[in-house]
């Protein structure tokens, strides 16, 4: 089965990326205008367009935003004239020191670990596809699916800031303001989510077919 695996592309078909309907691929000279899926109206592509270039661009953009997101303050607390700024990491350290290490762990994983690991995994998948690697395609596909599913949980810290800002708003007594890092961090989360969506896992399997040709 491995040797003569027939993909939709080889059979001259395109599977709609949203509803999975199999559609005949248009002849190459007519592909200028994007064909639409007759069932759900999604644009039809045998592989996501410019998947590698787009994903690289988004990964690099997210890497850039990752720095101010971690260096600048996430929240600024003003309490009786005292001003204290917290970055993502100092928030984690606060939770460790106050003894609630499960919460510290949750924030560390969602805000620091997951975005970073996600960027590394996407980078690795891109390099492996560009080098036409044949290394464990099934596991690489799974790695991609996990990366895509987990990324949204990084929004956690943004929601925490939203709730803190709403609750601690007591005029001169105490207020919490969202810091500039919040915006950069939100950008990291949104951009990495879009990056994962623009990567096409079918490219992982294409290397395998080229080998048998």
């Amino acid at each position: 089965m491995k040797k003569d695996a027939l993909t939709a592309r080889k059979a001259g078909l395109i599977a709609c990326s949203v509803c999975h309907l199999l559609c005949p691929a248009a002849p190459p000279e007519r592909t200028a205008g994007a064909a639409k899926c007759p069932r759900c109206g999604a644009a039809l592509h045998s592989r996501k367009p410019d998947s590698i270039a787009r994903t690289w661009a988004l990964v690099i953009a997210a890497c850039i935003f990752y720095i101010p997101a971690n260096v600048l303050p996430m929240t600024t607390v003003t309490s009786l004239g005292m001003v204290q700024s917290d970055t993502i990491m100092s928030g984690v350290i606060y939770f460790i020191q106050s003894g609630s290490w499960p919460i510290a762990l949750v924030i560390f994983i969602a805000s620091i670990f997951v975005p970073l690991v996600k960027l590394f995994i996407l980078g690795y998948l891109l390099v492996s596809v560009q080098r036409r690697s044949h290394y464990r395609p099934k596991d690489r596909t799974r790695l991609y699916l996990i990366t895509e599913a987990v990324g949204r949980w990084s929004m956690l810290d943004i929601f925490v800031v939203t709730i803190l800002v709403a609750l601690v708003n007591l005029g001169a007594l105490a207020t919490i303001q969202a810091g500039p890092a919040a915006l950069h961090f939100a950008a990291v989360v949104v951009i990495t989510m879009v990056a994962a969506m623009s990567f096409d896992p079918r490219l992982i399997w294409d290397a395998k077919e080229k080998m048998h040709e």
Partner: protein, 202 residues
Amino acid sequence: MSAGHMMACHDCDLLQHIPSVPEGSMALCRRCGALLIKNKPKSFQRSLALLFAAVILFVMFNAFPFLTFKKGGLEHQTHVITGIRQLADQGMEALAALVAINLLIVPGLHLLASLYVLVPVSLNRKAPGMFRVFRYLRLIQPWHMVEIFMLGVLVSLVKLAKMAQIVPGVAVYSLTAFIFIMAAASAAVDPHEVWERWEGPR
């Protein structure tokens, strides 16, 4: 369900023949193991009942008080929308918009679009453009983040525990119920059961 059809795996593009999938079982890709089709029993009725409950809960968590900050004689009540408004007041309009999209707009659209597609389908009818609406529904789903917000509530409660007493209101309980009900409603229907209603290009 038809006697079987051809299908290409979304994750590795392998073309394969899918035999008819009996109720309660599923089909996996031969090559990469990704889930292709899952046939669930009584899916539309179950999903619709849950969606109607979710509509009520959606209204409740927006209308009722969310968290109340208490310290000494001081009391500060908030709603779900308060934080979004506060972010906008602090000059973070983009962030406020993002939170509003993830927390209110997408979940609201998710409900409306699900009802628009599933009510006619369960009556064996078709609504105009329902396959298009169902596609939008698939596209917005990753941006529905109510359950992540709930984890944020827990973190905030721990963070403020030493500073003041935080009293959860009706909205907190409605939001929790909304999360479980929406998850159950989405899990009840396999999208292929909707896609299969399509009878070919007109």
